[in-house]
């Protein structure tokens, strides 16, 4: 008897263990799929959405019925709603996606007969990895924003197109005249969305071009009795003074002249204002309109690196620059670690970013500086690549006949209703108009207004799909305010100054296809440039010639030839 009990106990134990394992493996399908048979239109949406998110199930189910009993049956009778899944980068990364009961979902369903589902993807390399994984499984969404870790949205689009995963959008454009007028009106820019002459990408107006610039701590200059630098040599002297003469007056030797981090190829675009003084900003040399080659071939390039190396060896640049990430860098200037840097106007001066700096240094003040002149009097701020957001449509969606629905949705986003709803939220709740037509928030519940964190999930699509940089937008997005000590901080003034500086026009560089062995090439290029800059490798004629020789050894010449071909094919070069 005892033995038998023992066996029963063993069986129970094993069954329990197996049950745990199996429940962990099984998809949680049963509860969500149960209501499907009761309502016909939900049937189409169930397979695509049920497993990942209950959004479609929740919105198609009873919520519609009590508000307007007559509408859903008629749409059901005439035509099944089209399911559209849209992948976008969030406008506010720390906020979530729009909730299932978002009013825009309801309007889009009732007016356009579309079951929309917005999925916010991670940014940068994580986002690209998500796209690649979805591409590998052939499960890209219907409409998606191209994401790139290396700020090469077009590169991502071309790659997905080469894999045959994108559908052409040529036939969609005539279906959305208003959207074309407000967003896709620049033929030169639209070329960025073409592969082999066929339009695959919808290229948005660049979201605030030329928005970064060269700034300096004015309070430090004043304390040391120095004048703002106009040349690189003056900048060096001021950086030296900022490092050695205790500009913050705290009695400690804890400041540096220059601060920054690597963002992009070589030393990255954050130090391009230095390379600009030597006439070699960016990766490509574009000075001769009929020719394109790598900037490192210019004899001025090693001179620019030598100047950079001077900053390093004189210890006037924050030595953490090769390892810092963007956020570490931003934390450092807010702690007053350095006085000269390159920064985005909004990251510098928007109230939420400025508040920490303002608290730490109530007398601290940054001012924008013009591009510093090099030894030959040249000066460039940077290359303006004005990265446009590119939207693409999956081949799967086109094949499934969803093209017209996609155009219908995009056209709606360019109507007054869609534009304000997706860009600013509900009128009277998130925003209202004053008598001049400006967007204002007075008298509204501060927890619900457009700027409140609680409301930002409703406008997650605004930056990448909706806004076109109208004066109305800029005014409300980047308002002026007063600092702790009562100074006016006007973000748009920074932006306007930055935009007035000399930028190399380089938006078309996006059409250049990446080097076939990009990983090896990028490493060789970046590693050597940085070693020269840090002085880990001595910089002289011999070492520089060796570097160029090595570059040719891994196909630099071929890449330059192909770059010319890419630019010619896309119509940017003759």
């Amino acid at each position: 008897m005892n033995k038998r009990l023992n066996e029963i106990f063993k069986v129970a134990l094993v069954v329990l263990a197996l049950a745990v394992v199996l429940t962990a493996c099984a998809p949680a399908a049963t509860p969500t799929s149960a209501p499907v048979p009761t309502k016909a239109p939900a049937a189409t949406s169930a397979p695509t959405t049920a497993s990942s998110q209950p959004v479609a199930a929740a919105t198609t189910a009873p919520t519609v019925v009590p508000t307007k009993a007559s509408v859903p049956p008629t749409t059901v009778a005439t035509e099944k709603p089209v399911d559209l899944e849209l992948w976008a980068q969030p406008s506010v990364t720390e906020q979530g996606p729009p909730p299932a009961d978002w009013i825009a979902y309801k309007i889009v369903r009732e007016k356009l007969n579309i079951n929309l589902k917005v999925v916010l993807t991670p940014t940068g390399a994580d986002g690209e990895a998500k796209y690649n994984a979805a591409a590998a499984a052939n499960s890209l969404p219907d409409i998606m924003q191209m994401v790139s870790a290396s700020q090469d949205n077009r590169g991502t689009m071309v790659r997905l197109q080469k894999l045959g995963l994108l559908g052409p959008v040529t036939t969609l454009l005539p279906l959305m005249p208003e959207r074309v007028k407000t967003h896709y009106d620049d033929p030169q820019r639209m070329k960025m969305g073409q592969v082999g002459g066929v339009q695959y990408g919808l290229v948005e107006p660049p979201p605030i071009p030329k928005r970064e610039g060269y700034v300096i701590r004015k309070d430090w200059l004043d304390k040391l009795g120095l004048k703002p630098p106009t040349t690189l040599d003056e900048m060096f002297e001021i950086a030296k003074a900022f490092t050695e003469k205790d500009p913050d007056g705290n009695g400690k030797n804890d400041t540096y002249g220059v601060g920054g981090f690597i963002n992009g190829v070589g030393l990255g675009d954050r130090f391009d204002f230095i390379m600009g003084g030597y006439d070699v900003p960016g990766l490509w040399d574009l000075r001769d309109p009929g020719k394109i080659q790598l900037n490192v071939r210019d004899p001025n390039y090693p001179k620019a690196l030598a100047f950079f190396n001077k900053l390093v060896t004189a210890k006037v640049i924050d030595p953490d620059w090769p390892t810092l990430k963007r956020d570490d860098f931003r934390a450092k200037w807010k702690q007053g670690k350095f006085g000269i840097m390159w920064e985005d106007f909004s990251a510098l001066a928007s109230p939420s970013n400025y508040v920490t700096f303002d608290k730490n240094f109530p007398d601290g003040e940054f001012v924008a500086l013009p591009a510093p002149k090099g030894p030959d009097g040249k000066a460039w701020y940077r290359v303006d690549t004005s990265l446009s957001t590119i939207w693409a449509v999956s081949k799967k969606a086109i094949d499934a006949g969803k093209g017209p629905a996609i155009a219908r949705f995009l056209e709606w986003t360019a109507t007054k209703e869609g534009y304000y709803l997706l860009g600013f939220g509900e009128e009277g709740k998130q925003y209202k108009f004053d008598k001049d037509g400006n967007i204002v928030f007075d008298g509204l519940d501060p927890k619900q207004v457009w700027t409140a964190p609680e409301s930002q999930m409703y406008t997650q699509l605004r930056n990448n799909l909706i806004f076109t940089n109208t004066p109305q937008e800029l005014k409300v997005r980047y308002p002026a305010y007063t600092s702790v000590k009562g100074r006016t901080v006007d973000q748009v003034q920074f932006l306007k100054f930055f935009q007035s500086q000399p930028w190399v026009a380089g938006a078309h560089l996006q059409v250049i296809n990446p080097h076939p062995k990009a990983a090896d090439f990028n490493r060789y290029y970046n590693e050597n440039i940085i070693q020269f800059a840090l002085g880990q490798k001595p910089l002289n004629d011999q070492t520089w010639a060796d570097f160029l020789k090595g570059l040719d050894g891994i196909g630099a010449k071929d890449w330059e030839t192909n770059a010319k071909k890419d630019l010619t094919d896309a119509g940017f070069m003759k």
């Binding site: 094993v14 263990a17 894999l163 953490d320 090769p322 090896d520 840090l534 880990q536």
Partner: protein, 329 residues
């Protein structure tokens, strides 16, 4: 747990084979069935583990065929065209191949040669401690870093080692020295990687050795003490031989992973100035395979690593059998 059970089943299987090796095929199958029925509970309990390996390790092997294909998502795994060894050649022909191999083997070799003895010494020291309270405190403190992710470790290391305001450099500066950019200087990067790995993992890896030490019969120590053996002699003649099988086992398993340079750690810690001493196979595969969308290449390199690991395990298993008299299987 699972190791114990699979060991038990192999023992059963072995006994079965030696007892009935002379019978015909159908008889042997019948015997095997009977034996399995006899030990059905053990088989049932092992089932989840076996299932895990089947589902997550063996079935995916089928997809490894993309290593020899030019994978295109639209065509699927089976439809993609065969390209032979082209993907592997792409890796072997990389101008960084030699450096990647050297760095990878250096890191995993250093972890083996430096990390393991330190863990063993720590385990012996803990084992010899008389005060249980002290032992527990030390154990807990040394385990702790194991539970921190490398991203957090990077933050801690930056606070310690940053040349502008890191603690270590502040100390160097206060003695009048020049700050050292530990994380971006090729001469220092490897030491930092190995050092931080030992710091993070040593406490955790003592668990195995401690468990082995506790299984040694106390009578042996008592007898040795009566015979007048000193502490060191007892460690040398009782403790170490007692945990030798575990040491051999761990070494063999580590050898099989010799081409795993520790992706997460390197990925978080490395930066351009130290690629020459820090870039390993896995980080290269991440950049060229995942970011440049060459899944076939990444798979080919993965297979390459697997084959080398398997060979090393088999060879070293034979060597262990010959020289240490013990082996893994």
């Amino acid at each position: 747990m699972s190791q114990f059970m699979s060991a038990a089943t192999t023992r059963v299987g072995r006994a079965q084979r030696s007892a009935h090796s002379s019978g015909g095929f159908s008889k042997r199958v019948r015997q095997l069935g009977l034996a399995m029925w006899k030990h059905r509970w053990i088989y049932l309990i092992t089932a989840p583990t076996l299932l895990y390996y089947l589902v997550f390790k063996y079935i995916p092997l089928y997809n490894a065929q993309i290593a020899f294909k030019e994978f295109q998502p639209l065509l699927g795994i089976e439809g993609s065209p065969w390209v032979g060894l082209q993907n592997l050649e792409g890796f072997l022909n990389s101008i960084y191949f030699g450096q990647l191999m050297t760095n990878t083997i250096f890191f995993s070799g250093a972890r083996l040669v430096l990390g393991m003895p330190i863990a063993i010494v720590l385990a012996l020291m803990l084992h010899e401690t008389r005060f249980a309270f002290f032992r527990n405190v030390v154990q807990t403190i040394t385990y702790l870093p194991h539970f921190l992710s490398w991203v957090i470790m990077f933050g801690i290391l930056l606070m310690l080692l940053s040349p502008s305001d890191g603690l270590v450099n502040e100390i160097i500066k206060s003695f009048g020295g020049e700050p050292i950019a530990f994380l971006t200087t090729p001469n220092w990067f490897r030491q930092i990687v190995i050092g931080s790995d030992i710091w993070k993992e040593t406490g955790w890896s003592t668990i195995l050795y401690l468990a082995a030490l506790l299984s040694i019969s106390p009578e042996l120590y008592e007898a040795a003490a009566v015979d007048g053996a000193s502490r060191l002699q007892r460690i040398w003649n009782i403790s170490l031989p007692g945990i030798l099988p575990v040491i051999v086992l761990v070494t063999l398993l580590r050898l099989g992973n010799i081409l795993q340079g520790g992706f997460t750690q390197i990925f978080v810690l490395y930066s351009l100035p130290v690629y020459s001493v820090g870039d390993i196979i896995d980080t290269w595969v991440y950049r060229s395979g995942i970011l440049d969308f060459q899944f076939s290449l990444a798979t080919a390199v993965g297979l390459f690593k697997g084959v080398i690991g398997l060979t090393l395990i088999m060879v070293s298993n034979q060597l262990a059998k010959r020289f240490a008299g013990r082996n893994l299987y």
